[in-house]
């Protein structure tokens, strides 16, 4: 480039006309600032479509958005207790727990590892058959859950209570080795200071069968 400068000074290697300005014109001013964030538009945008169809779809969209917030698929994380656990939490939070799923999918279509153990409400028909002794250890948790649900619900059936009473006594007998486990589960479940297995709410006074002479009857 330096060598050919003397000869034909204003010769460029490309066709100057294609640039868009002649030799004498000044170069366009260089940019001093970045281009504006919202540059002014040359042409206004076309107005939106209107009509019955459009309005209907608009209403549908807003309705879908609103109703999807109420479906059980809308998952809100349980609020972690940051400071002191307050008494009102039990009533305000609506029992938002992480480990329960509010709808029941078809577990056969999903991998087993996704199945969250939900606390099942008591099954009236199925329970009487599950009294096998060797399986009491496995049933302890269910029994404790059942006890708790029994307390929370108002209706109590007679026969169920008798079974529970018997199983509870079996639990008491076997409580030795698993005392700690029982303590933790019971206390966490009920949030009271009283240990469930010691609690006798007195409603089966007189309903006990006379075969059980373990406890003194006053």
């Amino acid at each position: 480039m330096a060598g050919s400068r003397g000869r034909g000074r204003s010769q460029f290697t490309f066709n100057v006309d294609a640039l868009g300005f002649g030799r004498g014109d000044s170069l366009p001013t260089s940019a001093q600032t970045p281009s504006p964030l919202f540059p002014p538009m040359q042409f206004r945008p076309v107005p939106l479509q209107t009509g019955e169809e459009v309005d209907y779809m608009l209403a549908l969209k807003q309705e879908l958005r609103a109703s999807s917030k109420n479906l059980p698929f809308h998952i809100k994380a349980a609020r972690t207790k940051t400071d002191v656990a307050r008494y009102s939490d039990k009533y305000q939070n609506g029992e938002l727990k992480n480990n329960c799923i509010e709808w029941s999918p078809d577990w056969s279509r999903m991998p087993k590892e996704l199945c969250i153990k939900v606390r099942k409400p008591r099954k009236t028909g199925a329970k009487p058959q599950l009294k096998q002794k060797p399986k009491v250890a496995a049933k302890k948790e269910e029994v404790l859950q059942k006890l708790e649900t029994l307390e929370k619900r108002e209706e109590e059936q007679h026969s169920e209570e008798e079974e529970d009473e018997e199983k509870k006594k079996q639990n008491d007998e076997e409580e030795g080795p698993d005392a700690d486990e029982d303590y933790d589960e019971e206390e966490i479940e009920d949030e009271t200071d009283y240990i469930m297995s010691y609690f006798d709410n007195g409603e089966d006074f007189g309903a006990d069968s006379d075969d059980n002479m373990d406890e003194a009857v006053y």
Partner: protein, 547 residues
């Protein structure tokens, strides 16, 4: 998945399913395939929440699972199906189409199934019937059989399809109840199961439920049926007999319908109403016979078209022939002639029609953004492929300086590309041809990404911003409406009602009004952008379709 698409998916998940699912979903999209433990660890969410989110996503068909890299014995891996999430944009359109085709009943059926992902037929029918009864005047109730007939019509025309049954892994096919292994069930593709879209099988099924023989006849169809599900259904005698048969919306079919609608409206705009009716008849006749990604419909003879025309259009046979000739000669090439038997065999060129529609979209975008002269240059380049700068000025009949200016603007927006053709091995500028060109497919992709960006960045985020700014006001108005509604329900006097209404001051009312107006505008813009997105997506998919 481009960055814009990932952002849009995240916003859609957040809107419909909450923050937790959004976090899980976006992370899974970005990582590709993950196991449950890895996902929980990386998102730092509690395991139960992750499980719940995955259940929600799988219920809606947005997440799929499969045997991991270590084979069936290893942990299950999950991945997200992104198109399914993007289909959420179009839910109002699907529902409206169902309404226009099958009335209110069809609309409610499709709405229920869309909101819940997959449902059994009995629960759908029950919910829809209850909703319809609720809206009817007192004393009337919706007949289940009407809902059932609407449902079966939707299935017949393939708008609803059955969810593919899960094929159990080999080792757990028998005795699956007792194995403690995590049963990795493989989801199967709908294409592998022609019985899913075969309406006869399903109709026979539907009839047998509702004609009182409600007990399970599933064994004849689901050879690989889960024995677990079978056992479960036997014990629940109170349930209807269709456990495990889930129905989902067939999005492909809806998209084909939208595509047909677009073609028909294009024909009616370009030519006239009668030609669009002819094209509509042709498309309707070949609805179920044309495979999904076909480039042309099945060939139809002119005689068949004549017989199939709706009776309201009684045009004479020679006039039909003239119309068909016109359609074939039209430069848009919607209809093509493939033979002469039966009075002439005609096909609708689907892919070409889509390409033309996409091209029209591109041209109109350029016109609205840069003016009609730039649009003229753009159209010129589309037709003539490669042109030099001088030729552009001459052909477009635009003064040189303006032409340069417009070309450079289009170039900076990437709508036009520059192709260099050197005359000599060194690319000396004086000895190189510089040709301007427009490639339709990459430009369409660019525009599609623009649409996604517009949809998210401008529309959804702006709407969220506006809602957040005025949250206090919105909550107040909601509370007041609730109070009013309860007062009215308990029969309060007019004075009390006006007193409650005055709790919102006039400037607040105005603010609320303008807020609603803005949100409505943003929402309907979203719907409109989605139409463009659909068109461009169909065009791009048609070019990618397997031959």
């Amino acid at each position: 998945m481009t960055a814009q698409e990932v952002r849009l998916c995240g916003l859609l998940l957040q809107e419909h399913f909450g923050d937790v699912v959004e976090k899980v979903g976006t992370h899974l999209i970005r990582s590709g395939v993950l196991t449950l433990r890895a996902l929980a660890h990386e998102t730092k969410l509690p395991l139960d929440l992750v499980k719940k989110s995955l259940c929600v996503l799988m219920q809606h068909g947005m997440c799929a699972f499969g045997a991991g890299r270590r084979g069936p014995a290893g942990p299950v891996e999950y991945h997200i199906i992104c198109e399914r999430i993007l289909h959420m944009l179009r839910y109002p359109r699907y529902i409206y189409t169902a309404k226009s085709l099958y009335g209110d009943t069809g609309e409610l059926i499709v709405e229920e199934i869309l909101q819940r992902g997959q449902m059994t037929m009995s629960s759908t029918v029950k919910t829809v019937a209850d909703r319809l009864t609720h809206n009817m005047p007192e004393g009337q109730s919706m007949d289940y059989s009407e809902v059932v007939s609407a449902f079966s019509r939707l299935v017949e025309t393939h708008f609803l399809q059955r969810c593919p049954p899960m094929a159990s892994a080999e080792s757990s096919s028998s005795g699956a109840d007792n194995t403690p292994l995590p049963a990795v069930t493989q989801p199967t593709e709908p294409e592998d199961h022609p019985e899913l879209v075969n309406s006869d099988v399903n109709l026979r099924w539907l009839n047998c439920i509702y004609s009182g023989q409600g007990k399970r006849r599933r064994s004849s169809e689901d050879g690989e049926a889960d024995p677990r599900a079978a056992k479960k259904a036997k014990t629940d005698s109170s349930e209807r007999g269709d456990e495990g048969i889930y129905w989902q919306v067939n999005f492909q079919r809806f998209h084909l319908h939208f595509r047909d609608q677009a073609i028909i409206s294009a024909v009616s705009c370009k030519l006239d109403q009668t030609s669009s009716e002819i094209v509509r008849t042709m498309l309707r006749m070949s609805e179920v016979t044309t495979p999904t990604h076909a480039a042309f419909t099945q060939a139809l003879s002119a005689n068949e078209i004549f017989r199939a025309l709706p009776s309201s259009y009684n045009i004479a046979r020679p006039i039909l022939d003239q119309y068909l000739t016109l359609l074939v000669d039209d430069p848009m090439e919607f209809v093509g002639k493939t033979g002469d038997s039966g009075g002439g065999m005609y096909v609708v060129n689907l892919h070409r029609a889509l390409a033309n529609l996409a091209r029209a979209t591109l041209e109109s975008v350029v016109q609205e953004r840069f003016g009609s002269r730039s649009a003229r240059i753009f159209r010129l380049l589309l037709r003539k492929r490669h042109l030099e700068q001088k030729q552009v000025e001459d052909f477009a009949m635009v003064p040189a300086k303006e032409a340069k200016d417009m070309l450079y603007t289009l170039l900076s927006e990437n709508l036009v590309q520059l192709q260099e053709i050197p005359k000599t091995p060194d690319y000396a500028p004086s000895r190189t041809f510089y040709l301007y060109t427009v490639n339709q497919l990459p430009t369409a992709r660019l525009l599609l990404q623009h649409c996604y960006k517009v949809h998210i960045g401008n529309l959804i985020e702006r709407r969220l911003y506006e809602t957040k700014e005025n949250k206090r006001l919105l909550e107040k108005s909601q509370r007041i409406e609730a109070i009013l509604a309860s007062l009215q329900a308990t029969g309060a006097e007019a004075a009390q009602l006006t007193e409650v209404e005055e709790m919102i001051t006039a400037p607040e009312r105005q603010q609320l009004e303008s807020l609603r107006h803005h949100i409505n505008k943003l929402d309907s813009s979203e719907n409109q952008v989605d139409e463009t997105i659909f068109l461009l997506e169909s065009y791009i998919n048609s070019t990618q379709a397997p031959r």
